[in-house]
């Protein structure tokens, strides 16, 4: 600064010297210096103007907020409102046969799994609240409002607190949450690519495993994404039940690895294990269910590949995705007219799907899903637990249109060969979200 001043003074002085006394090159130099000097001051003035404007903007915002709070008590806490969002969903579904006949032989479903409600129906309406609690914790609540048997019910879908300040790449979550096993398990219904979950998720996890417990995750300090997680769960939800071991009933382990393949593609692969010891777990017919007590182990392996030209996701992109699950169960089955029988059986399921977005907002997709079961023995012949004659399977295609990232309309067709009778299903579904909307994971 001082040097510049001196230069300026010198320049002013030298400019006073008669023209002839200076060489041509000298004049050029002086001109250049003058220009530089002027630019320098112009920049400084611009800087000051900018700072003034930012200060004014901040002052305006400060006065605006003090004005609005001036009319109410200062300690309402309203300024700490969490982010609030609501997701609306609904569907219109048509079955060529009777959806009652779609029970899958050998795989009595638990929980909410099963065909989508026939006809026009409101889906779950999700109310989502989330916020940082303080500098070390964040929390999220997802309440599902649904109509069951004509009555409105509120269900705590997720209610968890997350520790955000753990060192060394550790993370922890506790409360009620979707388990980290598999790929689709912790995805909210509004981010599914089809209106229903694939068969292995329906059969082995009653759509999605959600339970009360603690989750710990650790991320390796590597450029390749390596994540290891473990969960200790109450064991209150299918495929567990009965909160065995005094409410420390089941646990899970999962590991995920992922990376980019060039700028166009990226992938994620993972394996997981769920170990449960259900007590009187209900499945099949709601009014006269099977009850299972014993050990249940579920293993999953999954792979997801995402592609977009130059990694520019907005317009054209492709997702390939597949998961494989294997369940081993041994214990006692009873109920539904069955006297207690020893059950020891292995079952598998898998799906593979592709979703392609040819132009912005429009997507098409296809999915194949199937189940397979060993024979649990003659004791189960003639019951819904006997192995199916042929492997249950479905083929589903869908097309959806998202006007913005907050709205989606979907048309879906399924050729269903999983039940007693083959069935063709055609449905329409919508998802609309208002308010705050959390970022989606990979």
């Amino acid at each position: 600064m001082r040097v510049n001043y001196l230069k300026g003074v010198l320049l002013t002085l030298t400019l006073g010297i008669p023209h002839a006394a200076l060489a041509e090159t000298g004049i050029e130099d002086i001109r250049a210096e003058l220009t530089a000097l002027r630019n320098d001051y112009e920049q400084r003035i611009a800087d000051l103007e900018q700072r003034l404007a930012v200060a004014e903007q901040n002052a305006r915002q400060a006065s605006a907020s003090s004005q609005s709070s001036g009319s109410m008590p200062r300690n309402t806490g309203a300024e700490f409102n969490p982010a609030i969002g609501v997701i609306f969903s609904g569907s219109a579904w048509n079955y060529s046969g009777n959806p009652e006949n779609l029970a899958v032989q050998g795989f009595p479903f638990g929980g909410e799994a099963g065909p989508i409600t026939e006809g026009l129906a409101l889906g779950e309406t999700e109310l989502i609240l989330s916020s940082n609690v303080d500098d070390k914790f964040a929390a999220m609540l997802t309440a599902a409002l649904a109509v069951e048997d004509g009555e409105a019910v509120v269900e705590i879908e997720e209610a968890w607190v997350e520790a955000t300040a753990l060192p060394a790449g550790f993370g922890a979550k506790f409360g009620r949450f979707f388990s980290g096993i598999g790929y689709l398990n912790n995805k909210h219904a509004h981010s599914w690519d089809f209106a229903d979950q694939p068969l292995p998720y329906q059969a082995f996890l009653a759509n999605q495993l959600r339970d009360d417990g603690i989750q710990a995750r650790w991320l390796a300090p590597t450029d390749t994404f390596i994540e290891i997680g473990a969960e200790l769960l109450r064991g209150g939800a299918y495929p567990s039940a009965g909160a065995d071991n005094n409410g420390f009933g089941s646990y899970s382990l999962f590991a995920n690895v992922g990376a980019d393949a060039g700028t166009d593609s990226s992938w994620l692969a993972g394996v997981s294990l769920l170990d449960a010891s259900p007590i009187n777990r209900a499945s099949g017919d709601e009014d006269d269910p099977f009850l299972f007590s014993g050990d249940s182990t579920l293993m999953t392996a999954q792979f997801v590949w995402k592609w977009a030209k130059d990694g520019n996701w907005k317009d054209r992109n492709l997702i390939l995705q597949a998961e494989y699950m294997r369940r081993e169960e041994s214990g006692i089955y009873e109920g539904a007219g069955l006297s207690p029988q020893v059950y020891d059986n292995d079952q598998t399921g898998w799906y593979a799907q592709a979703i392609f977005q040819p132009v912005s907002r429009w997507r098409i997709g296809a999915r194949f899903d199937a189940l397979s079961s060993d024979n649990p023995g003659d004791a189960f012949a003639g019951t819904a637990l006997a192995a199916p004659l042929s492997d249950p399977r479905r083929i589903t295609i869908m097309g959806d249109w998202a006007n913005s990232e907050f709205s989606r309309l979907r048309l879906q067709f399924t050729r269903d060969e999983s039940g007693l009778e083959d069935d063709n299903q055609l449905g329409l579904q919508y998802f609309h979200s208002i308010g705050a909307h959390g970022a989606h994971t990979f």
Binding site: N39, Q57, L219, P221, T222, I226, S266, K306, S360, S404
Partner: protein
Amino acid sequence: MGFLNRRRVLHAALVVGLVVTLVGTSPAARASVKVFACEPEWAALAEAIAGDLVSVSAATTALQDPHFIQARPSLIAKVRGADLVICSGAQLEIGWLPALLQKANNPAVRPGAPGYFEASSFVLRLGATDDVDRAGGDIHPFGNPHVQTDPHNIATIAKALAARLQEIDPAESSRYQERADAFLSRWLEAVGVWEKRAAPLRGLRVITHHNSWVYLVKWLGMEQVATLEAVAGLPPTATFLSRLNRDFKDGGADVIIRSPYQDDKPSQWLAERSGIPAIELPLTVGGTAEAHDLFGLFDNIIDQLLEATP
């Protein structure tokens, strides 16, 4: 209670063993400050003012729309190891950055920590509004986030970034200061040259694809007469393009600007019918071959604008 049966103990031991192995093999002390930049312009700026004192990775390229990025595993891994995250902010990255930060388990770069730097918060953002109805499309209530197209903003942010690097890495404080000063004097000199060269662009009437160029328009004294998007953030519609053609085919606009990651069809369509030249301007470093750094970015923007207009 049968909770600690043999199988469970074995599984737990496996996990503990794996974690210990990975922790043990992880690189010990870091040689330099690791910077994760959401957009290429901030990666370029960090490199320009900190050079080899930092190692920089950019989450996106100039060919990607920064509103729509997948929260990829590779990005989570990078945020996990970062000492400093630099993003435009003002909700530009709202669809993916929160997911990265949540999954990355790195408290040093969470919003509020010194390791989280939101570039647009240091400058005057244009277009901040209380009118935040989503019927208006992709609205940014905190103002337009594409602040990098005004070089005066870059200068202001460079100073703030240098100060932040000094806070994170105090041992090298004087070197950050030296380099930032050196960059700024080069930068301000270049700004003077650009402003002189761009003088003929004053009053130029531009149509932009998306509302991404408001800072450039203001800086050079140009005038934005329309955008190709009828609703911000949604693709241009045929109806709206036809209307633009009707409105501007007999004059009223001098050039149509799109960014490299935007579909070129709408601007080409309008250019062919209206006779207004359409150009692809780099919105950030890497958008064209010439825009290989921040200096090249503005050189190329001004070159192209001058070329496209009589």
